[in-house]
Symmetry: C2
Subunit: 333 residues, 2 copies
Amino acid sequence: MPDKALACELPDFHDIEQAAARIRPYVRQTPVLQDVALNDSLGCQFLIKCENLQGGGAFKLRGASNAVARLREQGSGGDVATHSSGNHGAALAMAARLDGRQAHVVMPENASAFKIAAVRQQGGKVYFCPATQAGREAGMEALLQLGYTAIPPYDHFDIIAGQGTACLELLQQVPDITTVITPVGGGGLIGGTALVASHMGVVSVGAEPEGAADTACSLAGGKRVTEVEADTIADGLRALVGVRNFALIQQLVERVITVSDAEIRQAMIDIFRHFRLLVEPSSAVVLAAARQQPEHFRGRKIAAIISGGNITPEDWIKTSQWERNASGSAMIE
Amino acid sequence: MPDKALACELPDFHDIEQAAARIRPYVRQTPVLQDVALNDSLGCQFLIKCENLQGGGAFKLRGASNAVARLREQGSGGDVATHSSGNHGAALAMAARLDGRQAHVVMPENASAFKIAAVRQQGGKVYFCPATQAGREAGMEALLQLGYTAIPPYDHFDIIAGQGTACLELLQQVPDITTVITPVGGGGLIGGTALVASHMGVVSVGAEPEGAADTACSLAGGKRVTEVEADTIADGLRALVGVRNFALIQQLVERVITVSDAEIRQAMIDIFRHFRLLVEPSSAVVLAAARQQPEHFRGRKIAAIISGGNITPEDWIKTSQWERNASGSAMIE
């Protein structure tokens, strides 16, 4: 378990169970799928938990709904603010709107157009910042000066508890899972996942892009690095891992596998081939990790959390660099 | 219930229950999803049964698996043959391969490249024919001369029973559904669906493209028409409704709503906006129908069967004629 000094700021399994009950009216129970041909090619049973089919197209609605519901329980009104590459911002805007609040969202200037539009469609106000950790934090600080309540995207008790409900739901849906693979960006999803998994005796593994491998680097050095110059197609995983999040990962996650953008591209195409799902590059890292290091998974019943599907068909084609040959057969299994 | 003369050739609810047990090892239980914003815009609860996430990307695996398993039970070996716009062909090839058989598939020369490739990837042999009902039947006849066993795509006892398992599973997954909307092409899916729905006191409605409205025309005339000149983007619904299928529709389906290609295009985009799913135009007819005639559905709990997702992102963009504006906001709800 997390060390004592930090434990007071970290959710535990019970908090995640409470979050699940709290957010039930606002989120979808997402499906779990598998494909025989994919299982055969990986040498393991590889289930996907489809949070890309969550409301708003990403798991982020879980954490945002939990955080806003907690504010309401505490009688805390008023506007909320965050920084986000997009999915958390849109989820917070959606949760805030349902609760009669305004959300203010600082977004990096290189955020995807699709995600910027999603925040606005949910009624969120968008503010652009330089695409660095410092830029995000400065933008956020400016909003907090205005008196808004901060709901940061991952380094937050209620956010981590909310994101953990995806893994809780998964392990309730499917028995006998030995290992859960989760994308690692800021660490909200893997933090909550690792809490649930460890409580239930399941191994937790992370998957991170090589171009934003600050968590793998922090683990190797035994200390959280504080700057990352992200260069990866996985736009949802460019953020620096949070303090609470790193503490959870360090203590509860067995390993973090880093994958190249080329491996991510191939995994995007493979997920379409096997499941007919368009997923974000940030989601495809989980399959890329299983392909790269099959020795950790062989013969087991693995589940991977597909974190989001907020990518247009055009951007999916560009990002995956997929080219159909004359027969279209490159796509098909 | 169907009239006596035909009843001997038609499956009943019990046959569909048996089919469900028979095919369980070969098919996925597909998820049922809904979206609050879509429900609000339609004025009803609109659930989608995601057979686009079935193995092979379409409900067709249900019927094909049932038909092949029945051959095995009967000790009937050897090659199987069919005609198909693609999804049934690929499903039959997959089911045949798993059973150690060869599948031969007659396809219209205007079949989608994606679907042709899918048949071949499953080990099926493809034969092209003119894109007419007569062309399909002549091609099929030539194959039967070679001694292969016919597993036609819809006008077949075991196929109808197999396709009916999608609705059976749906009604077991979700209580209190009042109405099921199903695409109408050859009528395999709606035939099986109507059998299950009527047995369980649920209303059955069909959705058919205006450009291949032979079923609506047959219903209006009280007699099955025997030729259709199909002109619609819904490539999976161009076939003429089958004899058994029309008998079931005539007696068990409340109405068949015809929709334009423009309405289908809009529904494809709406399904992506609300669920992040790329679906075939043949699937989108169900939402187009609910949008066009909301008076039949208002205030009810409706389920629509999304029949397939076998379309590439490129073809989806072309077929839906979707253009993203600068912000991407056309896509987003």
